[in-house]
C-alpha cells in the first residue's frame, strides 16, 4: 500500500462523499451505437441507476407508412435494421402476402432465404466486429468487416445496392437471381468459414477480451422473457427461441440447422451465440443452394399484385393500367389485421398491419426486436462498472433505425 493510501484510510474526514454522481453518456458518444443517451447515477465507478433514453433517431416510420402504398414501405423497411436490410424486406413482403393470402413460388422462397441469411451473417459480423473493436481489438474488426464487404459484393450483384436494397416486392422479388448467383455463393462460403475461424483464434483465448466479456452484463432467462427479448440476446440467456425453428416460415423447415444457446446470458454468450449463428446460416445457405430450382418463376402470376414487365407497360394498355393502378393507388388488400413475424438480425421482427381494404396501410406497427433488447439493457448494466457499458451495449446490437424507427 502506498503511503498516501494509508494516510487516506486513517483520515476519515478525507473520505469521498457518498452521494451518487450523475453522469450523462451520449447521445453523441463514440461508443454509443446510434444515438442513445444514458443518464447514469454512479457510486464511484459502479452504476447504481440508469435511465436509457432512446428516440434521438425517431423518424416516424409507422406514421410514414400510413400515407404511401403497401409497396412504398420497402425503402422504409430497409432503413429499420440497416445492417441487415434484406431481412426487413422479406419480413414486410411476408406480412403483406399473409394479408393477401398468397405464397410466392418456391424459387423465390429459396432466394429470399439465401439473401436473408447473407444479411444475417453480415449483421452478426458487424456486431461482433464492433464489440471487439470497442475493447481495443481493431484487427478482428477489420477482418470481419472484410467479409461483410464480400457478402455485400454478392448482394450488390444481385440487388444493385450494397446496403439499402429495397429489393423485396409483394408477391416476389424485384428481379430473378443472376446467372452466377450460386457460383458466387460457393466461392464465398469457404472465405466466411476461414474468417470466422481467424476471428475465433484472435479473440476467444484473449485474456483482455475474456475479462471484459465473461460475467459482464448478465441477463437472466426470466428477465429475457419478461422484457420480450428475442434473437441472440434471448438465446444467450438460455431461451431457445428462434422463429425459424419454432414457427417455420418460407422453406426453413426443410433445412437442417441448430439453434445455439448460451448459459449465463453475459456478453460472452451473446458474442459466441452470434459467432455460431454465422456458421448455422452458412449451413442453411449451403443446403438452400442445392435445393433451389435453377429456373421457374420468381413472382406470382397476377398483374393485380406484381408490376408487369416494363416492355409490356410501354406497349400494351392492360399492363399500363396494371402498372398505373399499382403505382398510383397501390395493390388492393382485403380488410383485416395481420401479425406476421420473422427472425430478423436481432430477433423476432414483427409487422402488425391493419388494412382498411384500400391501397394504403391503415396502421403499421413494427415490433423492433432491439427495442425490447435495449429495454432489458438496464437489467444488464445496474451494478456493473461504467466501463462495462461499452461491451454490454455493443453486445445487444442496438440499431437506431430499428429501435427508434
Amino acid at each position: 500500500m502506498e503511503p498516501a493510501d494509508e494516510l487516506l484510510q486513517q483520515e476519515s474526514a478525507l473520505e469521498l462523499q457518498a452521494e451518487p454522481m450523475r453522469l450523462n453518456m451520449g447521445p453523441s458518444h463514440p461508443a454509443m451505437h446510434g444515438t442513445v443517451r444514458m443518464v447514469l447515477d454512479l457510486d464511484g465507478e459502479t452504476i447504481v441507476n440508469l435511465d436509457l433514453q432512446p428516440g434521438y433517431l425517431h423518424r416516424g416510420f409507422e406514421k410514414s407508412c400510413e400515407r404511401g402504398t403497401w409497396a412504398q414501405v420497402f425503402p422504409y423497411a430497409d432503413r429499420l435494421n440497416y445492417v441487415s436490410p434484406m431481412l426487413n424486406n422479406v419480413g414486410w413482403s411476408l406480412a403483406v402476402e399473409k394479408l393477401l393470402g398468397i405464397e410466392v413460388p418456391e424459387r423465390c422462397q429459396y432466394y429470399r432465404v439465401i439473401l436473408g441469411e447473407l444479411s444475417r451473417i453480415a449483421d452478426h459480423f458487424t456486431c461482433n466486429g464492433a464489440s471487439a473493436m470497442e475493447l481495443g481489438a481493431f484487427t478482428p474488426f477489420l477482418w470481419l468487416l472484410k467479409v461483410r464487404d464480400w457478402i455485400w459484393d454478392v448482394l450488390e450483384k444481385e440487388t444493385g445496392a450494397r446496403m439499402t436494397h429495397s429489393f423485396g416486392r409483394i408477391g416476389g422479388m424485384a428481379a430473378p437471381p443472376t446467372a452466377d448467383f450460386k457460383d458466387d455463393l460457393r466461392a464465398l462460403i469457404p472465405e466466411v468459414h476461414k474468417v470466422v475461424k481467424e476471428a475465433e483464434i484472435m479473440l476467444i483465448r484473449n485474456r483482455i477480451f475474456l475479462d471484459r466479456m465473461q460475467g459482464v452484463g448478465i441477463l437472466s432467462k426470466e428477465d429475457a422473457l419478461g422484457y420480450g427479448c428475442t434473437g441472440p440476446v434471448a438465446r444467450a440467456s438460455g431461451l431457445p427461441y428462434d422463429v425459424r425453428k419454432d414457427y417455420p416460415y418460407m422453406v426453413y423447415d426443410r433445412f437442417d440447422f441448430d439453434v445455439p444457446i448460451g448459459e449465463d446470458g453475459d456478453n460472452w454468450d451473446r458474442f459466441m451465440v452470434r459467432l455460431e449463428e454465422i456458421r448455422q446460416s452458412v449451413r442453411i445457405i449451403e443446403q438452400a443452394i442445392e435445393q433451389m430450382p435453377d429456373d421457374g418463376p420468381v413472382n406470382v402470376d397476377d398483374p393485380r399484385i406484381v408490376l408487369p414487365e416494363k416492355h409490356d407497360v410501354y406497349t400494351t394498355i392492360e399492363a399500363t393500367i396494371a402498372h398505373f393502378k399499382l403505382v398510383m393507388e397501390g395493390l388492393q388488400t382485403p380488410k383485416g389485421e395481420v401479425y406476421s413475424f420473422t427472425e430478423g438480425g436481432n430477433g423476432e421482427l414483427g409487422f402488425y398491419i391493419v388494412s382498411d381494404g384500400s391501397g394504403t396501410p391503415y396502421r403499421v406497427r413494427v415490433r423492433p426486436p432491439c427495442w425490447f433488447n435495449l429495454a432489458a439493457c438496464r437489467e444488464m448494466l445496474i451494478g456493473e462498472m461504467i466501463a462495462d457499458i461499452i461491451p454490454t451495449f455493443g453486445s445487444i446490437n442496438m440499431i437506431g433505425g430499428e429501435c427508434d424507427r
Binding site: 450523462n24 406514421k63 422473457l225 420480450g228 427479448c229 414483427g350 402488425y352 391493419v354 396502421r363 415490433r367
Partner: protein, 243 residues
C-alpha cells in the same frame, strides 16, 4: 395450440371474454378494459397457458368510432408450449388503462411508447413519460388526426428545476459549435420559430398578391373619376385652351 389458449380463457372468464376470432393464422380475444390487467395476469400465471414471453403492446386509432376510440393490443407467447395469443381491449380518449408492466417488465417501454404516440394513459405505470419524443412535443403523432407534416415549435432551453429526471445541458454547456448568447436571447423573449411554423401562425401576407388587386382597383377608380368629372373636365379643358 393457440385454440387451446382461447378455450382455456373461455373456461376461466366465460362471458367476460367479449369476442374471440381467428384470422390470418392468429387467435385473438377481446376483453373489457376493466378486465385487462386480470386477464394479463392470468395468461402469465396460469399453469396451463404460461404466457411468459412478452411480445408486444401497441395501439390502433379509430377516430371515426362513436365511442372507445382506441384499440390496445397485447401480443404474447408462451416459451413453454409455444402458444400465441393477441389480446385486445378498447379504450376511449382520456381514459386510462391498467398497466401490465408489473406482469411483464417489457410492457414498461411499450406502454410508454403507446402513451407517447397515442396519448393513452396507463394507471399504475411506474414511469409514464414520453420515450421516443421529447417532453415538449405537442400532440400524439400516431393519432389519425395528427397531420403528418405538422411542424413543432422549437423547444426553448429547459430549466434544471423543471424536470428533475432529465438533467439538461446548461445554457452555456454543450454548444461548442455556436457562440449564441442564449441568456440574452431568452431574456429578450426571442421566440424561435421554424419557417414552417411561421407560415402556419400567419406572417403578413405577401404584398405582391394584393398589388395586382391594387392595380385593378386603381385602374377602375381612375376610370370612375374620369367618368364622374367628365362634364367639368371638358369645361376645364376649354378654359385651359382659352388661357
Amino acid at each position: 395450440m393457440s385454440q387451446a389458449v382461447v378455450d382455456r380463457l373461455r373456461a376461466q372468464f366465460g362471458e367476460r371474454l367479449l369476442e374471440t376470432s381467428h384470422a390470418f393464422g392468429g387467435h385473438e380475444i377481446v376483453v373489457a378494459d376493466k378486465d385487462w390487467v386480470e386477464v394479463a395476469q392470468f395468461l402469465k400465471e396460469d399453469g396451463e397457458l404460461q404466457m411468459d414471453h412478452f411480445i408486444d403492446l401497441t395501439a390502433v386509432d379509430y377516430p371515426e368510432r362513436p365511442s372507445a376510440r382506441f384499440d390496445v393490443l397485447l401480443l404474447l407467447r408462451s416459451s413453454v408450449n409455444g402458444g400465441r395469443i393477441r389480446v385486445r381491449t378498447r379504450v376511449d380518449e382520456g381514459q386510462e388503462l391498467g398497466t401490465v408492466s408489473g406482469v411483464w417488465p417489457g410492457a414498461n417501454w411499450a406502454e410508454r411508447e403507446v402513451w407517447d404516440m397515442f396519448g393513452i394513459g396507463f394507471s399504475g405505470h411506474p414511469d409514464l413519460r414520453r420515450i421516443l419524443l421529447y417532453e415538449e412535443f405537442i400532440g400524439h403523432p400516431l393519432r389519425k388526426d395528427y397531420p403528418i407534416d405538422r411542424a413543432q415549435p422549437l423547444v426553448p432551453y429547459r430549466e434544471v428545476e423543471e424536470i428533475d429526471k432529465l438533467p439538461p445541458f446548461g445554457i452555456e454547456e454543450g454548444q461548442p459549435f455556436a457562440r449564441i448568447d442564449w441568456e440574452a436571447r431568452l431574456a429578450g423573449g426571442d421566440n424561435q420559430v421554424s419557417p414552417a411554423i411561421g407560415l402556419q401562425q400567419g406572417q403578413r401576407r405577401a404584398l405582391s398578391d394584393s398589388e395586382a388587386a391594387l392595380q385593378i382597383q386603381k385602374r377602375l377608380a381612375a376610370k370612375a373619376k374620369a367618368a364622374a368629372t367628365e362634364a367639368t373636365s371638358t369645361e376645364a379643358t376649354k378654359e385651359g385652351q382659352g388661357d
